[in-house]
């Protein structure tokens, strides 16, 4: 039996609330700085939730690394192009270089990008006479359709066009497992390299739900915090006074590489991806399984995949959204996996500072986990003020902590019940 191929992280890039680039985000997280504030992009005064963690991409692709033909298709594309450019640059890989033809691309994105007037101009036309006029809807939609509609409506189009811009000719996959997507995109890339499908894979996720329809749809589900008067204290995962999550947005990309391939070219190695596990609660549309079964399976599968046991893990970058039910279920799952050892595991939630990046969350949090291993530091979970007896875990409340980490897990769980977990070890 041949020796197993090992997979390492050789470059990262991101756009996140409060930071453009991994070093800036990492510094903010270690300093316990929240990027959550009042929504400025549009007038949100009519909404029960008026806070979010907004991010900003430079227009298009400032470094010119991936070319300008990917612009004009909305924030999800802009964030992705920028984060992917950064990751390739950090990895020392030039687009269309010799590495690219056999390299892969693994992507997760949100539902699609639609212009507000594009959709609601049509909806208004259809609402004439108080009943639905489908013909008027269709006519107005055709009339008001913005350019590149097919690209904007298809997550897969972004993957294909990003690949072409980078010269990537190997395996290509675009997935949409909602809030588990970002972790899964990295996990799928890891699987290709381990199986020998590719030596290099650009993997990541991008999403933005901070626009009127996105905000409205999450408000309607009762999922969001309403702590509008104190935005920086609203995201409080595992805290007894939590009342829902805060929307964030952005993109995270990593370059994953086969270890020998990375060594041969003298690439920087941040951390090693040791395993990936995924599952499904198969329970309810939004309520997590009461025992966190999907989460337990994902974590156990990641550990088995990595050849690790729970006692090897020093840190978990939690899904930790700050919802009453979700956090409780995650803690139950952590207890089931770690048992009495849980007290010795540091568990922090990046969402406490940058909010929930939805599909992109897992990718950005994978980067944070890799940086934690590289530096031997874990960032705090903000706003740990009110104990919750059902969540008695070490959430690193006091501030960033130094700790040599042998192995770490990064969790992401989705509406619908999909769960994903990455296991990292120190390089």
């Amino acid at each position: 039996m041949s020796a197993r191929r090992r997979v390492v992280v050789t470059g990262v890039g991101l756009v996140a609330p409060g930071a453009e680039g991994a070093p800036g985000l990492w510094e903010n997280l270690l300093a316990g700085r929240s990027a959550i504030g009042p929504i400025r992009r549009f007038d949100a005064s009519a909404y029960p939730t008026r806070i979010a963690a907004e991010a900003h991409a430079s227009a298009g692709d400032p470094a010119g690394v991936l070319g300008r033909e990917l612009g004009g298709r909305g924030r999800i594309w802009d964030f992705a192009v920028e984060a992917a450019s950064q990751a390739l640059t950090a990895a020392g890989l030039a687009p269309r270089g010799p590495w690219a033809a056999s390299a892969g691309l693994s992507l997760a994105t949100g539902m699609g990008t639609y212009g507000h007037a594009e959709v609601f101009g049509a909806a208004a036309a259809g609402a004439v006479r108080g009943s639905f006029d489908g013909k008027a809807f269709a006519e107005q939609l055709r009339h008001g359709l913005l350019p590149h509609a097919a690209d904007r409506q298809s997550p897969g189009a972004l993957a294909a066009r990003l690949a072409r811009a980078a010269g990537i000719g190997g395996p290509l996959l675009a997935s949409m497992t909602a809030c588990a997507g970002g972790t899964q995109a990295v996990g799928d890339a890891f699987r290709w390299i381990r199986r020998g499908e590719a030596d290099v894979v650009l993997a990541g996720a991008s999403d933005s739900e901070i626009y009127p329809m996105g905000l409205a749809s999450f408000c309607l589900l009762g999922a969001l915090s309403r702590r509008n008067d104190a935005p920086e204290r609203a995201s409080r995962p595992f805290d007894g006074a939590r009342d829902g999550f805060v929307l964030g947005e952005g993109a995270g990309f990593v370059v994953l590489e086969e270890l020998e391939h990375a060594r041969a070219r003298g690439a920087d190695v941040l951390a090693e991806v040791a395993g990936f596990g995924s599952a499904c609660d198969a329970w309810r549309a939004t309520d997590p399984h009461p025992e966190g079964l999907g989460a337990v399976l994902a974590m156990r599968r990641a550990l088995d995949d990595a050849g690790l046991s729970p006692s090897d893990v020093d840190y978990v970058n939690a899904h930790g959204t700050s919802t009453p039910g979700g956090d409780r279920a995650e803690v139950r799952a952590l207890r089931a996996v770690f048992g009495s050892r849980l007290g010795g595991v540091a568990v922090s939630s990046t969402k406490s500072m940058i909010g929930h990046l939805t599909v992109a969350a897992g990718a950005v949090e994978a980067i944070v986990t890799a940086l934690s291993l590289r530096d031997g530091r874990v960032h705090p979970t903000l706003n740990q003020e009110v104990p919750d007896p059902e969540c008695g875990i070490d959430t690193v409340p006091e501030g960033a902590r130094r700790r040599d980490l042998r192995a770490a897990l990064s969790n992401s769980f989705a509406f619908g019940g999909q769960t994903a977990c990455l296991a990292f070890v120190r390089a």
Binding site: L141, P171, C280, F415
Partner: protein
């Protein structure tokens, strides 16, 4: 160490030609055409109003928990039905399974035009929310069904299949455009090979018969000319199983998953050139283009005929997405297991 192989043991199909594999095959054999002007919405404003629509599907019998129907858009209903058909076709034991995964490919989302309009209809001036986001907030919060997001999130398609079948293996919704359904089957086979799942419900489910899809296709010029693309809908799901386990339970094996490609390139070219193609053209002519579900549907129909030799299903799309999968005849699968 011998790598685990994936075999196909069950087929499920919902197309405009009929609900179920049998109904679709009969319609194809009779040359019945389901292409007609769309009735699901008024498509007359578009360059071509033709569509392939699924009619007369009663999804209830296929739902273990029918309450979920209110959360399921058309493509999700097709997916749940086709998945249930595949399991039944395979004689796969029912009940919760940690080793059963779900991998479905789809494209786009119909966003529920009627519901969006209904949300604005209550406002005094429905046009105002289109320009004024504050007015929009009030209208949407007052008038939009709170379940809207859950109905249209693409990952819910795979999630609902898993919920109905209590399948707790890996679960994904693939969205590589028109190649998505075939790519989903490739992924499912990979999960089995890697030991991540023992069985996978894999395939495509799509519905392009809605204004957003038509508008985007028209903008690309695909609805114009003498042979416009006919947007259609449906689902094609196969049950993949790990080969030894399938043989051990006496399953009827339809084929063994062979080579695959997850993008355009030499591997896809080789697969497309080197084997009999799964017949997708009669399907396209008589039912329309099922987009992400099209290549899986063609594969299902080829498998139902019985394989004389290897068959390759190939899917490509206008944005450059591509996928291909080879399936080998079952007697070779039995021989290699012996």
């Amino acid at each position: 160490m011998k790598e685990r192989r994936a075999v196909v043991t069950g087929l499920g199909l919902v197309t405009p030609l009929g609900t179920g594999l049998g109904a679709t095959r009969r319609a194809l054999a009779e040359g019945r055409c389901a292409v007609a002007p769309a009735t699901l919405f008024d498509a007359r404003p578009f360059a071509s109003p033709l569509a392939g629509e699924v009619h007369d599907l009663d999804p209830r019998p296929y739902f273990r928990v029918p309450k979920a129907l209110k959360l399921c858009d058309r493509r999700t209903r097709f997916a749940v039905c086709a998945a249930a058909m595949a399991l039944e076709d395979a004689g796969f034991p029912a009940g919760p399974s940690e080793g059963l995964g779900v991998s479905i490919g789809t494209s786009g989302s119909d966003l529920g035009a009627e519901e969006l309009s209904a949300a604005l209809a209550r406002a005094e001036d429905p046009a105002l929310p289109a320009r004024d986001t504050d007015a929009f907030g009030e209208a949407a919060l007052a008038g939009l069904n709170p379940l809207w997001l859950l109905v249209h999130l693409p990952n819910m398609t795979s999630a609902h299949v898993a919920i109905q079948q209590e399948a707790r293996g890996p679960n994904t919704t693939v969205m590589t455009g028109w190649a998505a359904g075939l790519a989903a089957i490739v992924e499912g086979a990979a999960w089995i090979a890697e030991g991540r799942a023992d069985a996978v419900l894999a395939g495509g489910a799509d519905s392009a018969v809605h204004p957003f899809a038509f508008a985007a296709l028209e903008q690309e010029g695909l609805l114009s000319g003498p042979s416009p693309l006919v947007p259609a809908e449906g689902a094609a799901v196969v049950l993949l199983e790990e080969q030894e386990a399938a043989l051990a339970r006496g399953a009827r094996i339809l084929g063994e998953v062979g080579a695959h490609a997850l993008s355009a390139g030499t591997r896809l070219a080789a697969l497309a050139a080197g084997a009999t193609s799964a017949p997708s053209l009669p399907l396209e002519r008589l039912a329309g283009n099922l987009l992400a579900a099209h290549a899986p549907a063609a594969l299902v129909l080829a498998l139902a005929e019985g394989l004389a030799g290897p068959v390759a299903a190939v899917a490509t799309g206008p944005a450059g997405e591509a996928s291909a999968l080879q399936v080998l005849p079952p007697d070779r699968a039995a021989r290699s297991a012996a």
